[in-house]
């Protein structure tokens, strides 16, 4: 792991009963970089995510979030604390918005911890103290800015469950960004998006990296998005890392091609040889 990694995963393993979902995985996500985690279905990518974001407790290995010269050991933290203390935010493969709440409300919930402190554990809020009112206004402004950023300002007061699919995906990203994270983990953000929407997503990811200095770790199957946005790619198959490197390296790596095609490495080399 060269360079400045914000996330350092060392020898991570995850076992479910007899099944080994992740086996001795080590990689790093660069600070202010976009790192992609790719691989065929069932490779264990979402499992890695769940370990990093605290939903699974890993069987073995460490995950360190390096931030402001302090390293936080993620495997020791409970799920909500990872978001709160380590400042890692995530989106989900199957979109987990709050469907019965408006887009704006979704973004307000994301700022829960900040607002709880400002409301003096609710009591200042109950009496309507001015400090609370100011904090609430700031939160609404932040939400408004992000809604504008993802192009959903017009739909701020619509129920999240009513939004079209592409809008829901973007709203989920906006919601994650409202927690002001240092590391943003996106689980298949381009799933189900058409070409235009995918391009807009790439733009969004670039601007997030540029304007906020947020590091991004994403799982993705859409290779065009992956190749376009990633600074660094980690490839998994059957729970182990089979390749790691820049997009160019990965594109030409026969092991990766073999994994995706479900073929042998030799066959892949042969196919590649005949193609070029």
């Amino acid at each position: 792991m060269s360079g400045d990694s914000i996330l350092a995963v060392d020898h991570l393993s995850m076992r479910f009963g007899g099944i080994v979902a992740v086996n001795d995985l080590s990689f790093g996500a660069g600070r202010r970089k976009i790192t992609a985690l790719i691989g065929p279905n069932g490779a264990g990518k979402t499992t890695v995510f769940n370990c990093v974001t605290g939903f699974y407790k890993p069987t073995a290995g460490t995950m360190r979030l390096v931030h402001d010269d302090a390293a936080i050991r993620l495997e020791r933290l409970k799920d909500f604390r990872i978001s709160k203390q380590a400042r890692i935010a995530r989106t989900f493969q199957n979109i987990r918005l709050f469907p019965g709440m408006t887009a704006l409300e979704n973004l307000m919930v994301a700022q829960h911890n900040v607002l709880m402190r400002a409301s003096g554990l609710t009591f200042l809020g109950l009496i309507g103290a001015p400090s609370w009112r100011a904090a609430e206004k700031r939160a609404i402004d932040l939400a408004r800015r992000w809604l504008d950023r993802v192009g959903l300002l017009e739909r701020a007061d619509d129920a999240a469950g009513n939004l079209p699919y592409g809008d829901q995906r973007r709203l989920e990203i906006a919601r994650a960004m409202c927690t002001e994270p240092a590391l943003l983990c996106l689980d298949e953000p381009a799933a189900g998006l058409n070409a235009r929407e995918s391009a807009a997503l790439s733009e969004l990811l670039f601007s997030i990296r540029a304007d906020h200095g947020t590091s991004i770790l994403l799982i993705e199957h859409d290779m065009s998005v992956v190749m376009e946005v990633s600074d660094h790619i980690v490839v998994m198959d059957y729970g182990v890392k089979i390749a790691e490197g820049s997009p160019r390296d990965i594109r030409d790596d026969p092991k990766v091609i073999a994994a995706y095609l479900g073929a042998d490495e030799e066959e892949a080399i042969a196919v590649m040889g005949s193609a070029t």
């Binding site: 709050f98 700022q111 829960h112 911890n113 129920a159």
Partner: protein
């Protein structure tokens, strides 16, 4: 699915008739078997202690006939109205009128409630009924925090009601503390129990959470019944003092309020006082709930109901969120319990059965979970309906059970079919309850 089912023409009604008849016949046959022994034969412990019985074939025939006829009616209705759940075409003008009038319902209802003691001053029955309704409205609003907002299925709410009632009763009869001192204490004690109950059930979901809370409620009731030295057991606690208006009792004596104000004493005055007291408590519950909904804690409750996993991913401590929901709901239940104790002057474990929890839960669900107005209207409907059956206790619960089943089949999301957002940029669009999750605990 927006159109009405086409009205059956005489030609198309004919095959329908045979189908309906067959269905009704089957229903009647099933009813015959089901009722044959239970209704057809009536057993009773005879004069010498052994069991005797007599036949009631007339009743049996009547019940089967009712099932037969009812089955036909239901089938006809189903053909006319379409299957359960199809939306019917309501002209937009009617819809908007309804929407406007809906906004006016709450204030009108509130004003009317304030004026009830004035309008019905000498009708003791109506005032008592009003107090009963308001008590259940408060209980409904309290449980609404747990079930409606946070989506935590609590089937043991009556436990907090009991804690509040017994707290006041025992503190007042043993230490002579006044109602106004005991009231907040009852709330705090109940909230404490709410946290205690909340801790073990944090990881439970849905049905399991429901049955554990039910078990807790039953345990509390059984402990109350059996811990005779503390609670008086099945005999309950009697001689609970009535509340005073800042120390001035509402009695006929010289130091009574009536004498102080220079007006003639009448027992109705105490009833009116109690009425406004419960109204104040209920409005307090309502005000606190509405404000909490707009604060981060209330929003966290609703988010918890919508998607707990997403909450955790956003850094929300779901443990404390659930515990505060339990504690807040419990607190209101406790306050209502203290009021109940002082109103009756006597409490016993019989008032705190699972049926009470089920009744309050039915009120919350009927009201359209999360809606304050809905819960109030539901309480009015249910308790008012119960009153119609006064004196026919067994039929009352029977009808209640049937009503619950029908309610779930026909309108599981309750009377009020939408949720109002707590913050908005431009317009507050009511969110249809189809989108709102009901929570899994």
């Amino acid at each position: 699915m927006t159109a009405l089912a086409p009205e059956p023409t005489p030609a198309s009604r004919l095959p329908g008739a045979a189908f309906i008849f067959k269905k009704a016949l089957i229903s009647a046959l099933v009813a015959l078997v089901l009722f044959s022994l239970m209704i057809g034969i009536r057993t009773e412990a005879g004069p010498t202690g052994q069991l005797i019985y007599w036949t009631r074939f007339g009743d049996l025939a009547a019940m089967v006939a009712i099932v037969f006829g009812g089955s036909i009616v239901v089938e006809l209705l189903r053909q006319w109205w379409g299957p359960v759940g199809t939306t019917r075409l309501i002209p937009p003008s009617v819809k908007s009128t309804l929407a406007v009038s809906r906004r006016g319902v709450a204030p009108v209802l509130l004003v009317f409630t304030f004026l009830v003691p004035v309008i019905f001053y000498d009708q003791r029955y109506i005032l008592d009924l009003g107090i009963l309704v308001l008590t259940y409205v408060m209980l409904g609003w309290g449980l609404n925090v747990v079930v409606g907002l946070a989506g935590l299925l609590d089937l043991g709410y009556v436990a907090f009601y009991a804690v509040g009632a017994y707290s006041y009763a025992l503190l007042a009869t043993n230490f002579g503390w006044s109602f106004w001192v005991c009231l907040p204490l009852a709330g705090i004690l109940a909230a404490f129990w709410g946290v205690l109950l909340g801790f073990p059930v944090l990881r439970l979901r849905g049905d399991y959470l429901a049955i554990v809370t039910l078990a807790f409620g039953e345990i509390i009731r059984l402990v109350i019944i059996n811990w005779q030295s503390l609670t008086g057991g099945p005999n309950g606690v009697s001689g609970i003092p009535r509340p005073t208006l800042f120390g001035i009792p509402l009695t006929a004596g010289e130091n009574g309020l009536a004498a102080r104000l220079g007006i003639e004493f009448s027992p109705t005055q105490r009833i009116v006082f109690l009425f406004y007291l419960i109204l104040a408590l209920a409005l307090l519950t309502n005000w606190v709930t509405i404000r909490l909904r707009r604060l981060p804690i209330g929003r966290a409750w609703e988010a918890l109901r919508e998607d707990e996993v997403a909450c955790r991913a956003l850094g929300i401590n779901t443990t404390t969120t659930k515990l505060t929901a339990f504690a807040t709901g419990a607190m209101f239940g406790g306050l209502a319990g203290a009021f109940f104790a002082t109103r009756q002057g006597f409490i016993s474990p019989e008032s705190f059965t699972f049926q009470e929890s089920a009744l309050v839960l039915a009120i919350v669900v009927l009201g359209g979970m999360g809606s304050q107005l809905g819960v109030a209207l539901a309480a009015l409907t249910m308790i008012g309906g119960f009153e119609l059956f006064r004196g026919l206790d067994q039929y009352r619960m029977l009808v209640f059970g049937v009503a619950m089943v029908l309610l779930m089949i026909w309108r599981p999301r309750g009377l009020i079919g939408h949720r109002a957002p707590t913050v908005f940029l431009r317009h507050s669009h009511a969110i249809s309850s189809d989108l709102v999750k009901e929570g899994h605990g």
